[in-house]
Symmetry: C2
Subunit: 272 residues, 2 copies
């Protein structure tokens, strides 16, 4: 990942009058931008009762966090697993203010939020955890590192100490969306989304995401964090025309892929 | 919305060996499923220091919540605006435990989480707020009502009392994703994603989502909540073949649309 694209405000301009010949909605591109003019401002909700923000972080054991995430997945789902995998370790090590946080609320993000298949719940959970312990000025590079790794890595990579199955196939999602990630895995593995193997895959994946996130947070705590995610060539290829300096005035730097959705480029598009 | 499809575990089976002729990843379907076997279990993190879950709710003024959301958007972005629009009213009315919640953390969800264009931050924020005040058994129907309304409504519908612009165009996202929602609006309105008009649109949209969420939560508090979202015909049409009882063994009930991404049905698909 190039820090410069995640530590500054990112704007997109949409293509008006593009000649791509795509379906009306399918042709839309460009998403990564900030929606706040002063996002680093300490929010007005801070009161005497609230602990100083961000909450304190100290290095945690990535493997212990992954094991906690695996167990938490089977308690209240993937977002809860992602959040609680990290926060349980900090609660145990530090106590207050972590012992007052209502982690149960994070169950809402399961299956891409209440089953809607949007953002992978494990990612939503670790992003929330990163945010809780990070200065708002530095959280985005850390989150982007995890999101980029997730999209480009054959997952899961972490096998729990006491798994329900000995072997779980891996797949590369090329996306951060639950719908795409799970469906890609099901198609590759041959298991249905209703299967206990699929649930186990998501539990291992949640543990994998938490382990990587713990490593990222530990590196940040050490002052040694160096972003490794780079925008894939398949995306930079699109951006060579559709980036903010090219035709169509489209800017979409953070997505790990374009063609998952924009698969129909039309007969008039190069390569279409 | 049909309560029966959001209050039970929702599983998807993916199509193996489909003859749709789609690109490998583009052909994947099916997302809405639960990933927890006992999601309603009170999580193990509850300690003496934590307030009882869910946190107390009392009816709030939807317009006041919308105004708070509009202001919060310009403080720390769309997810913060969505969450804080609701929670600020409860903090003011109830005090503890709301005065200890670190709402600043919700800034992570801006622009589809750190600029990645995934889930609309306003939706992520209100879903988190709904979850904080709801028994896990009832949160999903409430969240689904807001998600369904968002996808099918020309937004924004709420004009703040002191807006930065007098007129903001509306658009129907047909999606819950930031990338699609913003790009649809930019294409329809002619404004770029870098424009102050686009930021104002997202601020009005955040206020609109919070107002609707407050109305949903108030109805739930009154015992009068009745879900109105129904899966669109465009989706039930797809599900007539790809639903869990049809060919391909695919189940994807909650998405408000399929063709935003699955626009290339291939020559061998009916209507392709």
């Amino acid at each position: 990942m190039n820090n410069t694209i995640t530590t500054r405000r990112q704007f997109i301009k949409t293509a008006g009058g593009t000649a791509l010949g795509l379906l009306a909605v399918g042709s839309l591109t460009g998403a990564a931008f900030s929606c706040s003019s002063n996002k680093n401002q300490v929010a007005a909700e801070t009161t005497q009762a609230a602990a100083a923000f961000p909450w304190p972080y100290q290095k945690i054991d990535p493997t212990a966090a992954a094991e906690a995430a695996y167990a938490a997945y089977y308690t209240a789902g993937c977002m809860y697993g992602g959040f609680e995998g990290i926060i349980s370790q900090l609660r145990e090590a530090i106590g207050a203010p972590y012992d007052s946080f209502p982690s149960t609320m994070m169950g809402y993000g399961g299956a891409g939020v209440a089953g809607w298949g949007t953002l992978c719940g494990a990612l939503n959970g670790v992003a929330a955890a990163i945010s809780l312990v990070s200065d708002p000025k530095v959280r985005s590079p850390l989150i982007s590192e995890v999101f980029g790794w997730y999209g480009n890595t054959a997952l899961p990579v972490y096998k729990p100490a006491s798994p329900k199955f000995e072997d779980i196939p891996v797949s590369t999602a090329d996306s951060q969306l639950c719908h795409v990630s799970v469906s890609t895995w099901c198609t590759k593995s041959g298991f249905s989304a209703t299967s206990p193997e699929r649930a186990e895959r998501c539990a291992w994946l949640t543990a994998s995401v938490v382990k990587y996130t713990a490593e990222v947070l530990n590196a940040q705590a050490d002052g040694s964090f160096a972003a490794s995610f780079v925008v894939p060539e398949s995306v930079t290829g699109c951006l060579s025309c559709h980036g903010k300096n090219g035709m169509g005035n489209v800017h979409n730097t953070n997505q790990s892929t374009c063609i998952n959705c924009h698969s129909d480029l039309g007969a008039n598009h190069p390569g279409g």
